[in-house]
């Protein structure tokens, strides 16, 4: 039988959280430092009987888990740097240019409308009001992200927003960026030129090899995979013609993991390697705005996703060891939290989460939501996450809506049951919209929450792998992202 962990009799402990993993104890500090101890040693550490000569002692000291001169101040400063998102307003503004789409994905959310429907596009007047609100945000960085439906179906309004956005930012007071999330299929060369010349970042979905992608993303009689690849190549040629560095200017892609992908982790990774992509973002299906019927058909358990993900991750690490340069995005975002003090401001891995305070989502009709996921819940007929309407409200009304405060309170990891004592709190984030959909409450019951299970499953594995000799150096490379802002600027006057 395992010996119980003794009581604390050591005044030199810095605040830490801990977790038993594979028979050892992982200790984590508020600034993300971590150290491993054998169970016995952990007991000695708590009891205050761990000798200074013990090798673990120096390790704990090095990782700021033992009090010493200046340690407290150092840790406090680093906690501040890691929480930089608390010092800026909403910087991500998601615009739903249309609910229409020309494809029919098996996991698509309820709001999608057929391509020929009328009355589901953002009009110019609404777009101008949205820009008014965006430019009232105090954030020095503004990213305007076009989503849908298929946002490129409303390209005239996209063009207006980009041009008008640059006009309003003529003095360059803000760092203004645009990005487009698109299946790419409707874009012609003139539109591609416009996007490249105006520094609009482009992100698409590639769910894996052609058969898997085409099964997930139905496109009348065509192959959605071939269409996407054709357009990715067209972007690459255009970037090249403009003399842009191909290491920086490329189409981002993410893979939504559907049920049919679960048995094919390596095939999904190989598809990205074949495309020459250096980043793969494996994203679990989420239940936002998805009808229960679709979830029953396409959804899966947290464990099924974790099994898929870990096999894919191990395979990617193996490829890295063989010299292939490819990284997984979700792991890299978590590794940034674990290995650095940078605040990547990823909305779903920060505390509080980005809802309202980091991002705002504007529906085609001008209604404003705490985030796009909240907007998807609205599409199911529940407007709990709606915090205003650009036709009636200014930025101040929207940001002072009580819903923003509620989301903020509900996503302070440090103050939530389960999370506040979890060893992964310094690296993790919670999602009140997810909790609301799955549990009818903004605050999760973490022991039964699938999102928490996924985060824990991935973090457990990352820490296990980080403990292997040489692995930290390899994984640290995934945290060194290149600054791509230079290519995402307007290159025409």
């Amino acid at each position: 039988m395992k010996k119980p962990i003794p009581e604390v009799h050591n005044q030199r402990l810095m605040p830490f959280r801990w977790r038993e993993l594979d028979g050892r104890v992982l200790l984590t500090g508020d600034a993300g430092d971590y150290a491993w101890l054998e169970r016995e040693t952990f007991g000695d550490f708590l009891a205050g009987t761990l000798s200074k000569e013990h090798p673990a002692y120096a390790d704990l000291e090095r990782h700021n888990l033992i009090r010493g001169p200046h340690i407290e101040k150092k840790v406090m400063d680093r906690v501040g740097a890691r929480s930089h998102h608390l010092f800026s307003g909403p910087n991500l503004h998601i615009l739903i240019l249309t609910l229409r789409c020309n494809q029919a994905c098996v996991y698509c959310h309820a709001s999608r409308k057929p391509k020929t429907s009328k009355g589901f596009d953002m009009d110019l007047e609404t777009a101008a009001r949205v820009l008014d609100v965006i430019f009232e945000s105090p954030s020095p960085d503004l990213t305007i992200e076009f989503q849908g439906g298929e946002p490129a179906l409303n390209f005239d309004v996209l063009r207006f927003i980009v041009e008008e956005g640059y006009r309003r930012n003529q003095g360059g007071e803000r760092n203004l960026y645009f990005s487009l999330v698109s299946n790419l299929s409707t874009l012609n060369q003139e539109q591609i030129d416009f996007l490249v010349d105006n520094g609009v970042m482009v992100c698409t979905s590639i769910d894996g090899p052609a058969d898997l992608h085409d099964r997930n993303r139905r496109f009348s009689k065509k192959s959605s995979y071939k269409e996407a690849i054709k357009k990715i190549r067209a972007f690459e040629r255009t970037y090249k013609r403009r003399g842009l560095d191909k290491e920086l200017a490329y189409v981002n892609a993410l893979a939504t993991v559907s049920r049919s992908a679960l048995k094919k982790p390596r095939e999904v990774v190989d598809a990205y390697v074949r495309m020459g992509h250096k980043v793969i973002h494996l994203r679990p299906l989420n239940p936002f705005g998805m009808g229960l019927k679709i979830w029953a058909r396409e959804g899966y358990t947290a464990q099924e996703f974790v099994d898929f993900y870990l096999e894919a991750l191990d395979y990617i690490i193996e490829l890295n060891k063989q010299g292939e340069e490819i990284m997984e995005k979700l792991a890299s975002l978590m590794l940034v939290r674990i290995l650095t003090d940078e605040d990547s401001n990823y909305m779903d891995l920060r505390s509080p989460c980005g809802a309202g305070l980091g991002q705002l989502a504007y529906n085609y009709d001008g209604r404003v939501y705490t985030c796009d996921e909240g907007r998807m819940v609205g599409a199911m007929g529940d407007d709990l996450f709606c915090i205003g309407d650009v036709h009636q409200n200014g930025y101040a009304d929207i940001i002072r809506h009580p819903g923003v405060r509620s989301m903020c309170v509900a996503s302070c990891v440090e103050c939530l049951p389960g999370c506040n004592e979890c060893a992964y709190a310094p690296y993790c984030g919670v999602c009140p919209v997810y909790n609301y959909i799955m549990e009818g409450d903004l605050v999760a019951r973490s022991p039964v929450n699938d999102r928490c299970r996924i985060q824990k499953g991935i973090l457990d594995h990352l820490f296990r792998r980080l403990a292997e000799p040489g692995m930290e150096d390899l994984l640290r490379r995934w945290t060194e992202s290149k600054d791509r802002s230079s290519v995402y600027r307007r290159i025409v006057p």
């Binding site: 009581e7 050591n10 608390l86 010092f87 009818g440």
Partner: protein, 147 residues
């Protein structure tokens, strides 16, 4: 807590000791069930609250037993939620206050310009980093010297 199953009435009744689960915890737990159940809370004898939980749809005996189990788990969740909320009240106020302030149209702009290291209301140690462990967690035993 010993739930009483009344299958004929499609109902389960649970007496909750208010010393273990304060009344606001019982109310919060009951509220979670109102989409699938009708709930009635009554004062019972000796500092107890009686929760009568009736299914909106017809439930089997097993489903009623599960409902009682779920209610008991929910009581625990709500209790911990309140305890954590009380314990982290100050920290939450600092974080939420800081984040909301930064998003304000004007004041936020100033805060956003300031380097976090120089604008340190958040870093007036809301996490209690500088507070010794035993003081923070209320261990009244004397610590041993040595480390």
């Amino acid at each position: 807590m010993n739930p009483t199953i009344q299958a004929a009435k499609n109902m389960v009744s649970i007496q909750v000791d208010e010393k273990v689960f304060p009344r606001d915890v019982v109310v919060a737990a009951a509220y979670i069930f109102i989409d699938r159940c009708y709930i009635r809370l009554e004062r019972a004898l000796r500092g107890r609250v009686l929760a009568r939980i009736k299914g909106k749809k017809k439930l089997s005996r097993n489903q009623l037993v599960n409902l009682a189990d779920e209610f008991e788990n929910e009581l625990l969740h709500q209790l911990i939620r309140r305890q954590v909320a009380e314990r982290t009240d100050g920290l939450r106020e600092v974080i939420v206050g800081r984040a909301l302030f930064s998003a304000e149209p004007e004041s936020g702009a100033e805060a956003a310009q300031a380097e976090p290291q120089e604008d340190m209301d958040y870093l007036d140690d809301p996490l209690g980093i500088a507070i010794p462990w035993e003081e923070k967690y209320g261990d009244d035993k004397k610590e041993e010297e040595g480390q």
